[in-house]
Amino acid sequence: MNDLGALDAIVLRELLDDERVIYMHTHPPREWIEKVGRERVRTCAISEAAMVGMAVGAAMRGLRPVVDLNRASFMLCAMDQICNHAAKIQYLSGGQYTVPLTITCALRGDYHVDVGREHAPYAMFLNVPGLTVVVPGSLPDATVLLRASMRYDGPVLFFVSPLVAAGDSTPAWQPLSIGQARVARPGDDVTLIAIGAAMLIAMDVARQFERDGVSVEVIDPLTLAPLDIGSLRRSVRKTGRLVLVEEASGDATATMGIAARLLADAGTFAALRAAPQLVLGQPVPMPSALAKEEAVLPSADQLRAAVERSLRAAR
């Protein structure tokens, strides 16, 4: 996951504690090979499809592989293995096999890598039954959920932005499991659901509104599949106002799915006092130039305006 100190520490700890864990990467840390051994820390050729396929085969046989695919875009090189096999084997085999596999990758960070690689493709995987999709929005949550992913008995796709997950110190442990959302900041007036790095601007915006006397409840769903819809409903029923933000774009994003599920619940729908507000990235590929990248990503200003629209509306 490239320079994500605290998360790397989690993977190494699990490697040392559980000899079923193996780590597959194109350039694993030398220190890990020395501490754990070449048998379980595998230096791989650049073959994402086979790395994931082999991890599926090894997971079926009792290992707990972690495949680090570097950037989220590289997940797309392994779509067949992820969507047609890892996701389906437990169900299709009638439970004869499970696939305890974790695939990690970095979402957009401050590398500004290039057009082909800055990508937030996690929503694509939400259409595939059998996959668990984790997109944490803070370092403490990322560390806890990475450990939980590695101990989970099914395939987990772990997307983390270096913006939220950078840091060397290991944060305090907190009780949190896969499939649980977290109220990152309690509030009463508006529910703000943010995914991944959008949590950073969501928390900023919430703090700004607090100075104006508006109490914004920020929720990080953390696990997008299976979604903790109950926690999200409770918040929206309480505040009556809903704003959703993420960096991804397109016609079927994760926040769109969340909004639809909330609106489809009669109690939540009845509690809404304003139309939900969506703040997304622009529907274009990520451009290379920094100024253009900034224009494509959702900004704190856009999010603040969305919260204000929600507050102004009344029904």
Binding site: I22, E39, R40, R42, C44, A45, S47, A49, A50, V52, G53, M54, A55, V56, G57, A58, A59, M60, R61, G62, L63, D80, Q81, N84, H85, I89, Y91, L92, S93, G94, Q96, Y97
Partner: protein
Amino acid sequence: MEADRCKGSAQLTDSSVSNEVLADLYLQMCAIRHVDEWLLRLRAAKLFVGAVHPCSGHEAIAVGAGAPSGARDVVVSYYRGIGHAVAAGADIRRLVAERLGLQEGYCYGRAGEFVICRDARLQFTAAIIGSGVAIGTGAALADQVTSTGGVTIVFFGDGALGAGIVHESMNFAATWALPVVFVCEHNGYQDHTRTEEVYPSPSLSRLAEGHQIPADLVDGNDVEAVYRAASRALHRARSGAGPSFIEARTYLRCFHLQFDEPPPPYRPPDEEAAWLARDPLTCARHALLTRGAEGAELAAIARSGQERVDVAVREVLRSAGHPAAYAALAGRPAP
């Protein structure tokens, strides 16, 4: 006549395959042929849905490569896999039930043709060409990491060599000396396309050798030749020397796949006739006759393999609520 056509078997006969083993391989091949014929009949009668990819013609590879494996080894198959499942020791009743979508099937009818039978060491049956090669190579990785001494046998067709993931997997297997045996059932066609039209050379062994994996080109219709090649490859894998590639030249007796009815002919009739004359069951039978077996004895073996299947099919049809179907279909000619 028959002796000439099956010359390969007769010439290669040596002490490595005993008469008893060869007779058992022949029995298994007869059972597989019979399952295959039953599945085509049952599908034509619309007793289940989806496609049947018949394996008739490939029996010697399924049986010859599977037989030398042991309890620690696993098999990864692909959609033309009913022979691999039977050779691995899967219960024919549960295999047929799986195809019929019944709860009694290995996967409760969820997997159909892509059956998984853990207790018969069949870890995976790939629906997507080439995908099983990666999964089987990963199974071998698990065996290496945990030092089980087990070997994974991965079956695939010649079409799989067009898939990038197969080459990626072979690269890993060779680099890490993984305990895996790649068995390519080279029948000359991928779907209805001749393999020589889409590959630079008809030699698939050269592709494996490009990955520095030792390759063995064998007559895939000669069960003894396959058995011996697989024994060598299993020994090599178990000793830690790494993967092997077996290119088993063969031919489909019927066709690529069938839905409600067989597809129209798509291969040159003279090519079909030449291969049918070298049918793997005929060759195995001939090898046994050469070793002194009696014709009546061999007929009894064939009947015994077929009866195992008939009993299973009858039971499954009865429990599926089609008690009359067995009698109605049993007499129908197979393709």
